[in-house]
């Protein structure tokens, strides 16, 4: 494949090479002055020390020395610009956006009485109040899978909502609200069909009362291990409760539902310079189709949108959303400062190797997955949305923390874009993995569900790839198994706990 240069906006002063290229190569009229790895940036013109480096039409930073046309621009050449100040963000009524119209407006899902969204899977979830009981629940999972699940063929599986929270924590610390609401809201994820099964120890700080309402906190839904005479007795009680829940879940059937019953999460991890050119714009197009069809789509990752926060504020539909955006991002700025770190802690070494020089460049690519739809609501990590449409859920960018946060907020399916490749998966909701470039898909044929590399090679437009991805999302929501689900690859749940361990 012959290398090409991808320039995104007219005013850009750099472009990326679609293939690794050598010093002396002439690509699209530019002679390279050094070897340039795939996805990395090339100066489109000579720049003086301090000049702006522009990509996505946005200033990524300033060159720290004079640069010739055709030079490789990377993290060693760039000085980070100042972070956009939150105080200047204001609600401005923006011109209405015309979104593309989806060809499909329904999916086959599991409705849950009284719930805003429907499930895409039919799972028994067993939630723990505290990590102390996880050993027992792990053994329970083995027994349920071996002895009970085969009797209930309409149930897709059983998942343990094991987590590191619950005790040895300052339960009334101001930030404890984040993990507590995350666990509480996860119990109600539509993929769990409204069935509640909670296992507690009996002396933990995260009491069942903090997770369930009085009406829910019954002996049909809750088992406290300290109330049982030993391991044998507790396992008997747990198996009995699990079977009662499985019987109810086994009666559920998929029905044809409008897209307004679907809630999808967007995330990217192991990003490269193509993320913002291929996979994320394709996901953005699919997201616009979903929103246009009435669905709810969440995107997240505070540190990865921080440098483009003014672009998000411009898309907010009301002042409330802008104020919440400022509050959540401001809280995160302080949280990082308390730990003596700042946004330069991101990107990762792998991101840099993939051509992403700094967090501004990563942010522009990250935001692309949200499409062009207006942002109807901003929520904190693990909070429940109150609207349908495009929602910014202000979670950490860490893949393994963002996933559980979005699950808590109600997603029933996640779309995961990756450039470097990760076997990421969730047991609680199917995850569709989208690669940014052909090489990734060719390398991991059995792990990648959708390749957006065709956009890089010019075989498909963003629109075409986006429509195809939208189709796959509807199919997976309706029961089709993506690779991670078929292979049983699941990350364990890491809820965001910004409060201290005691």
């Amino acid at each position: 494949m012959k290398a090409r240069l991808i320039k995104l906006e007219e005013i850009d002063t750099v472009a990326i090479v679609t293939e690794a290229a050598q010093s002396g190569d002439v690509i699209d009229g530019i002679t390279l002055l050094s070897d340039v790895p795939q996805g990395h940036k090339v100066a489109l013109k000579a720049m003086k020390q301090g000049d702006e480096v522009i990509r996505y039409g946005v200033v990524l930073g300033y060159v720290n020395r004079n640069v010739e046309r055709g030079e490789w621009i990377n993290e060693h050449t760039l000085i980070l610009p100042t972070q956009p100040p939150l105080s200047e963000l204001k609600f401005v009524k923006s011109p209405s956006v015309v979104l593309p119209t989806p060809k499909r407006t329904t999916f086959e899902g599991y409705e849950v009485a009284g719930h805003r969204y429907a499930g895409t899977r039919n799972l028994l979830a067993i939630t723990t109040t505290v990590q102390c009981v996880s050993g027992v629940v792990d053994q329970l999972m083995v027994r349920i899978k071996g002895e009970l699940l085969p009797k209930y063929p309409h149930v897709d599986g059983v998942v343990a909502i094991n987590h590191a929270y619950g005790c040895g924590v300052a339960i009334d610390a101001p930030d404890a609200v984040v993990p507590i609401r995350s666990i509480r809201n996860t119990i109600k994820n539509p993929n769990f069909g409204g069935q509640i099964m909670v296992v507690g120890l009996g002396c933990e700080k995260l009491t069942v009362e903090r997770l369930l309402s009085e009406a829910e906190n019954t002996k049909e839904n809750v088992i406290i291990l300290q109330d049982y005479e030993g391991y044998g007795a507790m396992m008997d009680a747990l198996m009995q409760m699990a079977e009662a829940k499985l019987k109810v879940l086994n009666e559920r059937r998929r029905t044809t539902l409008p897209l307004s019953k679907l809630c999808v999460g967007m995330q990217c991890g192991g990003s490269d310079a193509f993320s913002g050119v291929s996979a994320n714009p394709a996901a953005g197009w699919a997201s616009d189709l979903l929103v246009s069809g009435g669905a709810t789509v969440m995107f997240s990752e505070v540190t990865e949108v921080r440098d483009g926060v003014h672009l998000l504020a411009e898309r907010c539909v009301d002042e409330r959303a802008v104020e919440k955006l400022k509050a959540e991002i401001g809280w995160y700025d302080e949280y990082l400062a308390k730990g003596s770190v700042d946004r330069s802690a991101n990107p990762t070494p792998g991101n840099k190797a993939g051509g992403l020089s700094n967090i501004v460049e990563k942010a522009m690519g990250s935001i692309a997955k949200s499409g062009k739809a207006p942002i109807v609501e901003v929520i904190g990590p693990g909070e429940l949305p109150t609207k349908r449409g495009l929602i910014f859920a202000a979670t950490p960018a860490s893949d393994i923390v963002c996933g559980p946060s979005q699950l808590a907020s109600g997603i029933t399916l996640q779309v995961f874009m990756t450039g470097r490749g990760t076997p990421y998966g969730l047991a609680e909701a199917p995850v569709i993995k989208v690669s940014t470039r052909n090489a990734m898909k060719e390398m991991w044929t059995d792990l990648i569900d959708f390749n957006a590399g065709s956009i890089i090679t010019g075989v498909q437009s963003v629109q075409e790839a986006g429509e195809e991805l939208f189709d796959l999302i509807i199919d997976v929501a309706s029961g089709k198994k993506p690779a991670a689900e078929a292979l049983g690859l699941n990350n364990f749940l890491c809820y965001f706990n910004p409060a201290p361990i005691t």
Copy 2:
């Protein structure tokens, strides 16, 4: 069983009841003025508002109102005293302590070339650099257990060192040193026989270089998933590496070793008012026997010793230990303050129900498990000791965080005291569970290994129970399986990460 009062020191102004008692009951000459639950405190004399409440010979706090002789004293009656200031702690040469002499001075363990301690188990450990790969490693565990382990009968098992760290973190944050050294040192735990198997992704922040030396970072020890052509290829490579390690481990045999090769951790969780009267003093006696015999014993739980830190300083053998104690505890004070919490966040509701009114009372009970031996060294969470003897490892008190920290520091067996009961266990080292009272053992016969309740009922002295527990520790170190190990009950690993998530 008739209720008795347990008074610990001559100057104590409260004593605890050994059984639940009713208003009007006369116990050891004192008429109770209200119902008093088991393990709770009774005023031995009338006190005026502001008077000292003394137990263990130490001021637990001050009464917040006038109190009559025979009244129930609990968390609602007590005002917390000021925390001992760290600045006043100084090294003072203390009178030498005479420790009891153990009857056994050897155990049957697995020596590891070049390691200070020997293993008590022969395990294959597979360490992950980042949570992204844990789904693959979980599937690998299933295959190894099914296909490989049966061929290597001298290997006790395989464990995944899965953790929530590795990416989505500020890897160069000042506090990142804690999780990084914890994971790095865990790899070298003697129970893993010096065999190294690390699974990385390829784009994570916690690169293999941060965990292994150049000599260790070889293709025989490390697999990077992004280097393989898909899931099938990575699983083949992983199975091949695991089998190579199993072959080496399968040659290991137990040999008779001096106690100086043993490293034991002490921990308590789900404590009650009896913890400091029965289980912990018995563990303290066993600890003194171990130390006297040349072994290393670690105790931990910063927030639970904070209010007795002056008592620890007095037992330190040199100025270096005292200064390290001040530094570690001071760091923790600041860490809690940053999260807007303080030591009053501990104890738990279960502790209070068990009679522990506040953190001072809990601390006195907690420290009892360290016996009377001098403290030869103080280490930070996840650090390696450089000496043998009694060591204070300054980890959080959270059971599920203290355990992995002690494993990183080299323990090969843990003794876990519990009053309320927890099914806690570690896959990486056997855990002996010690109950504080008969009722606990009677309730959880199949989960508790050793009952120290006989001390409460006067059937055994602390010395007798301590000697019996010491015997059990040597037996378990030599291969005997305690309940959690036999039942396969294991907590997953929560490494302490005080640095921010990004």
